[in-house]
């Protein structure tokens, strides 16, 4: 059987590098074009030293026709806003696109405008399927434009979806306290990621509803709840490279709800989902346990003294939170086993 040919646009950032790693280990995929911007013409290993000895290709400039003609699918790992125009060109040529930016994640144009401003390719929004396989598996089988979710929404939605779906929590009581490693901030040097200023500290940022991942979470939980959902979402920067832990709090309904019941709801929803593991009640997930792996670890507890559920989800922000999730979507879209190329245990310790 012929391999499926895939290209990566925006290959020299962290998500791009992770896509190259996962494609290299995927038995059904063949890497076609590696597209960059400031490193055009360089051997990939110069821009991404981690592929030294494994990849001899050079980085290409973006040329939609050249890329489309050699690719069955293209992963776009470009910044928010820059992606839409590239996606439009590729879609016009019929290529399946897995877009890792936020450009096509929000189905409601008004919500998109509110958080991101004007859209560069509004006519494509309705085509896009939100690439959280665990919730949109069927729609993804035929999707030609897949909006791969962000890392925070992936962790937050996976943790809360079973509770919201079964009405186990009060919809207006959701607080999500998220912690992320620094790679989520991208590869461009900045003071917030300068080791002396972050290496031994902890801090929140975009506090109290300012983070753009908030509406994605609300959209997906709202779909499950059948009503509008508003959450308080606060991210924190932690001095590690990879990993997102979402700790979500909500009022239990009924107040007698137990942790096992929450875990059951999760097991029911994620039955048949190879990328999700619901931990035994009493075991709390560690982001290190999923480093490098396309896996979400979920755990549920109930604070009986206060009647609140605490739902946790740990992922690797670059894998289940980005590149691995994109490959998982591609697997579904192209009819492969959903876990193809994504079965590796974590790189631990």
């Amino acid at each position: 059987m012929d391999a499926t040919r895939v290209s990566v646009v925006g290959a020299t950032g962290y998500t791009g590098a992770e896509l190259l790693r996962l494609i290299a280990g995927h038995p059904r995929l063949e890497l076609a074009a590696i597209v960059g911007h400031s490193t055009i013409g360089q051997p990939v290993a110069e821009a991404l030293p981690s592929v030294t000895g494994t990849l001899s290709a050079r980085i290409e400039a973006f040329d939609a026709s050249a890329v489309a003609s050699r690719s069955d699918a293209v992963f776009c790992a470009l910044p928010h806003g820059a992606s839409a125009a590239v996606v439009r060109e590729l879609r016009a040529l019929g290529t399946v696109v897995l877009d890792l930016s936020a450009d096509f994640r929000l189905a409601d144009p008004e919500v998109h405008r509110e958080w991101y401003g004007d859209h560069a390719a509004p006519e494509l929004v309705s085509q896009a399927v939100y690439g959280l396989v665990e919730l949109h598996r069927e729609a993804l089988r035929t999707a030609d434009l897949i909006a791969v979710p962000g890392c925070f929404p992936t962790a937050s939605i996976l943790a809360l979806a079973p509770l919201v779906r079964e009405g186990l929590v009060a919809i207006d009581s959701i607080v999500i306290d998220a912690k992320t490693g620094v790679s989520g901030a991208g590869r461009a040097p900045k003071l917030e990621a300068h080791l002396p200023e972050i290496g031994e500290g902890i801090r929140a940022y975009k506090v109290a509803g300012l983070h753009r991942h908030t509406p994605e979470i609300e959209q997906e939980l709202g779909r499950l709840a059948g009503q509008s959902v508003r959450v308080t979402f606060t991210p924190h920067l932690i001095p590690i490279t990879r990993g997102v832990l979402a700790t979500a709090y909500a009022v239990a309904t009924p107040s007698s709800l137990g942790a096992e019941r929450c875990a059951e709801a999760a097991r029911a929803l994620y039955d048949g989902s190879p990328a999700v593991s619901v931990l035994p009640v009493g075991t709390d997930p560690d982001t290190l346990w999923v480093r490098g792996a396309n896996r979400a670890l979920l755990s549920y507890a109930v604070d009986a003294r206060t009647g609140r559920v605490v739902a946790q989800c740990a992922i690797d922000n670059l894998v289940k939170g980005a590149a691995g999730q994109a490959v998982q979507c591609l697997n579904v879209r192209f009819g492969f086993d959903e876990a193809e190329g994504l079965r590796a245990p974590a790189v631990w310790p």
Copy 2:
């Protein structure tokens, strides 16, 4: 004027080491006995390499009379449960005791029993004053037994006290998501603090109301609220050595509450408190900004979309969360300037 003579019991743990550092830099204190357990007879620098070249004394075994006769005050930095008996001996000899364990923090014997079991010196509990200077300054001036708060309660209470005191949040809506560096877990090697298993991960522990610091927080907020308070408290372990960040969430009352109003409440409560700084609205505190310093940084935000206040407090768990707080209590008790020996900026970066 004669120096005040102080001793440290339990000097070779992390809190003990920090006490020795702060005492060395305090112009009104003179170090008397340095008491240890497994390192008796060793030069201090063998047990605590950080004092090499600065301290030539040897570690002594605990002998209440010997310690009391040479000390105006004693810092007890022993584990919970082990402290009470030592405190009883010292108090019987009339020495002022600053106890850094949890043994005397809970005023209600029933609550203590529920969380810690039987008390080893129950007759002393009513003598003890809770050593959060910002809330108990007057009582501390004459206290002979001071129960120095834990690191999580210090950060949590300081963040929430202004809101609770002025009725700015719904009392039953408080969720505290705390993050701590690893030094809080003490000096005994354990898998949870083994660098390969923690160095690149994030995880919660004692989730959903299991952490023993919870009742301290509830006691102090309850005093301010004039009613019983229950909070959902969840700590997380972060791979840095020092620092606690408490991110507290609560429903704003009224829902139109603004962040400036919260900050004002904090400035009002902490006016004249040298160890607390309320940051400008929009600036989020980083634990690195207080490393090594006896300072709490507070910040307030309001999520207008959901009507929730987000209150943050960053401290160094070993300083404002332990040793520095103890010295601050001693300053108040002995009539020194409250900031004496505690004015240093943070060790940054």
Copy 3:
């Protein structure tokens, strides 16, 4: 074609975990027994949370017959000293053994005794082939007992072998300054790996010829030099989890030697070696560039002012320095492509 059946003895340490990860990703291998000691009967994921969702087997006690009958080859990842007896049992049953301990690395019994004491299976020493594929590829094709090198020797020997082989450095002038992540110290908690004491420090240990990896380095360089070699080897502990960087210094012969000539010598020796990359002169390797990968990055520089070569080698201590190297040996022994299952780029960042 049937898969080759392999088992792992000592599976719950860091090297064991890495072996399980690499076996899972190897298309020619099938995992048979997973043998542990203190976790017998547990599901593997309880002892090694990183395999959650990927491995449902349970940990077995060691039973030589049971293991041998189900295995074509066995990886022994036991501590030094404990391995020899297990190896003897397995070899008596005819199983190919890849031993990751030091027990069979030293060919000279006197040298072994000097550094490790009496040998528990001396009769097997002469059977063992030193598992540094790049130097012993031919002998490994038929080896039934393979002594997989340690992490420091791997990095040190790979860096220096080309220079020693071609007589480019003075044999008596070699100094090796090595830096290692903490995972090399194993999984048992100890103060040296307790995050608060190591997380923000740098220190040497076993300074000035005390480290047991020294004679391995001398043995292999001596073989190439055709004469006895003595090196000054000093390891340093660095607060990261994975990675070894060896920085080796030696007097250039002739003194006019250039870096390009050194790099050429390395390219010549490692021609056809898929696990070694010689970097362009001027590029210094970073251990992060090989994390998770079975790859050694080499670089050469010459200090023209002093006439010294500086040879560097970066590896992941758990992969090319342990588990990956063992799989590479197995590939050679069983006639697979040497890079089978080992082609993944690094997990970066």
Copy 4:
């Protein structure tokens, strides 16, 4: 007695911040002007969040007369090259200057030109005294221009000086392998200090004689040896914020030299030096043991198998390697106790 008035030019970098911290804790100093560049007019705490609550002054633009008129001494913490012109202005006004740049460290103009290019104030070079108190204490008592050494030279020279001075090592055999935390690279964001690219890696840089700190080391060792000295110096970047460890190797003369003899030589040279501690033979220094402290920890070992001395020195690069050293120089220059304001134990853990 009146306080000595000091100002800091270049206050918002890491060395500047550390100077402010040390000045705040120094009983004989009074802070006058705080001079910056891109943050003029801001409250200091905006540029340096670590001084929040301790310093209310604002950052000033540099005005030589304004600074000189209010200062008995000025610390210049400017980049190499930028410092000379500022120093010239201040010296012309008679102010004592402690310059933390490299501009006045090299006494030989030819050597300076070779490593740094043309000098901006060559007429002042002969006035400057090299500010390593342990070697130049007498000259510093009357110095009006003090060239405070860099962090690598401080550690390297302190470790090797006793050996070179007493002829215990072969002068042409010195190799220095240095490791540094990232704060030494300054506060400007750059890829080499971007946490995801450095946080979990180890790498060398400016390998084989390229680092500009090399000639300082050679100058000072040459003075002690009475002959020209050339060393092989290689720095490595380690993912911690503070700390330099220099591991120096040299051939012992005579070859029977023991470690105790080396330690004696160090104790003899540093007798009466409060900032240096020679550790017992067998104890290796850790940079964490001096974090925040103006202290150098020395240790000596001899590899009897190869006849090489291994000399180690651990310092905090921002304290004994920069700001603390500058204050120590000032103490000597102004007749204070050499350890005044510098007696604090390390901030450990």
